[in-house]
């Protein structure tokens, strides 16, 4: 499938160099709220200038071109191994041609592989779909904000957090408070709630693919997402952590059923440069 190879290389380029329009619009909105001439407003207008410059000159928005995370939906009968091999080859080519920063480091030798591939690198998730097309979502996840992610078990006494949605709210606030300005706010926050550690971590990351302006199909969760966003923006951490009204652009929550004894909450933090794009093939 040589054509798919080229398309995935192009997907890498687009993801690294063009910020999604919903994220850019949210940053423009935040810039207006902060007001021109304020430190936070000045920072945001420089960020917007950077976004335009990256798009125009086809250079990566951020030098940390991140951890590539793929969510692939493929129809029944499509070999997942074949797609995985194509993604790995495309990753090598994109590292050279976009260019991407080589970010895959061997745990044992501390050597960088030089081409963004290695064991479990890039991250690739598969799901079977009934549709005839292959849908490939790519996120280039910056490590500064990735490092700000947290996982919680409710109840959490230190947060006065019970096993309920208000407990979830407190977990998110704690993660953002701990992150301060270190993960490049204003943040987009993904939250996963459910029964198992690995499951909620994936679920919270998946939420980051949702458009900022979308509305959660559950009215209860839609309200909670708005409430937490507002609460975060009261913290005053602001763009890049220098103070201001814009600490989060949005919060997105996903839920699964939980075990009666478990209530895991995973919080994925994404920087203002939330780079994601989709390929339908």
């Amino acid at each position: 499938m040589p054509e798919l190879l080229d398309k995935i290389v192009s997907l890498y380029r687009k993801t690294a160099t063009v910020l999604p329009s919903d994220v850019e619009a949210a940053l423009e909105n935040a810039c207006r709220k902060e007001g021109r001439g304020s430190p936070a407003g000045t920072i945001l207008s420089t960020i917007l200038e950077n976004i335009a410059l990256a798009r125009k000159t086809r250079r990566p928005i951020c030098q940390d071109t991140g951890l590539p995370v793929f969510f692939v939906k493929a129809p029944f009968g499509q070999s997942q191994r074949e797609i995985r091999e194509i993604i790995v080859r495309a990753t090598r080519i994109a590292t050279e041609t976009v260019p991407l920063r080589p970010n895959a480091v061997d745990i044992l030798t501390d050597k960088n592989s030089g081409d963004n591939t290695g064991t479990g690198f890039p991250v690739i998730y598969f799901e079977e779909t009934s549709r005839g097309k292959i849908i490939i979502d790519l996120m280039l996840k910056g490590a500064g904000s990735e490092n700000a992610g947290q996982i919680y078990k409710l109840p959490a006494e230190e947060l006065k957090a019970d096993r309920n949605l208000d407990g979830v709210r407190k977990c998110v606030l704690d993660a953002v408070f701990k992150a301060q300005g270190r993960g490049c706010p204003p943040y987009i926050i993904g939250v996963g709630v459910g029964a198992a550690k690995d499951q909620v971590t994936k679920l919270s990351r998946e939420q980051l693919f949702r458009k900022i302006q979308d509305s959660n199909p559950s009215e209860i969760l839609a309200d909670l997402e708005q409430k937490i966003t507002d609460d975060i923006n009261q913290l005053g951490i602001g763009p890049i952590g220098i103070g201001g009204k814009s600490t989060a652009l949005g919060v997105k929550i996903g839920i699964n059923h939980r075990h009666p004894a478990s209530y895991f909450v995973d919080v994925s933090v994404s920087c203002w440069a939330t780079r994601r794009a989709r390929l339908i093939w």
């Binding site: 990256a54 250079r59 928005i61 030098q63 300005g181 490049c184 009261q234």
Partner: protein, 205 residues
């Protein structure tokens, strides 16, 4: 002081290398533009300088009075040398454990990165006459265009592109002084204010 809605007053231009008096004239909240030669260094450079303690004569660049920029750039090797593609800051807190002794051993006058640093570095800034500069996380293309030239590199083969020490010649490179040599840290002030709000919101007050 950085307050909501506060105007940025004057933007100061500084030229490297800096003397101690230059550093003392800078205060938390000052917006500055940097001209001159500065070096990059992130995790590997910090653990190397901290653990191996190389003498100044073994380091090919003069670190006295310069800025150490926490940055792992994207650089392309071209026929004419190196071209900086993208070069924003990385999270400074990761090198908090090492920073203080690197400041005092090598006479560095400025540390630049993102997100601020902790107590040990804050004390080292005051004791040695050094400032912490917060530049704009993620604005990698905008900042790369403020680097006139990638002058040289040290430890490229050993550490790789991201972790090597690069020597940049910069002009009009923007940053905000967030920790000064007088003991003030805007990061700490913002964190304390956000702590009060956080405690209120989780009902711990």
């Amino acid at each position: 002081m950085v307050k909501r809605g506060n105007k940025i007053n004057d933007i100061k231009t500084i030229t490297l290398p800096l003397a101690k008096d230059d550093v003392l004239s800078l205060h938390a909240g000052d917006m500055i533009l940097i001209n001159g030669l500065m070096v990059t260094g992130r995790d590997r450079v910090h653990t190397f300088l901290f653990n191996e303690k190389p003498e100044k004569k073994f380091i090919p660049f003069n670190l006295e009075g310069t800025i150490l920029y926490h940055c792992g750039p994207v650089i392309k090797k071209t026929a004419g040398g190196f071209t900086l593609v993208a070069g924003g800051p990385t999270t400074s807190m990761r090198v908090e454990k090492y920073q203080h002794r690197i400041i005092s051993s090598y006479g560095i006058r400025g540390i630049m990165g993102k997100g601020g640093m902790g107590q040990k570095t804050r004390e080292a800034l005051r004791e040695n006459g050094c400032v912490y500069l917060n530049t704009i996380g993620g604005a990698a293309v905008y900042l790369a265009d403020k680097v006139k030239q990638v002058v040289d590199v040290w430890k490229l083969d050993e550490f790789g592109m991201t972790e090597a020490m690069w020597l940049f010649d910069v002009q009009g490179f923007p940053a905000l002084v967030t920790m000064d040599a007088h003991g003030r840290s805007l990061h700490e002030e913002i964190e304390n204010r956000s702590l009060n709000e956080f405690l209120k919101q989780i009902g711990a007050y």
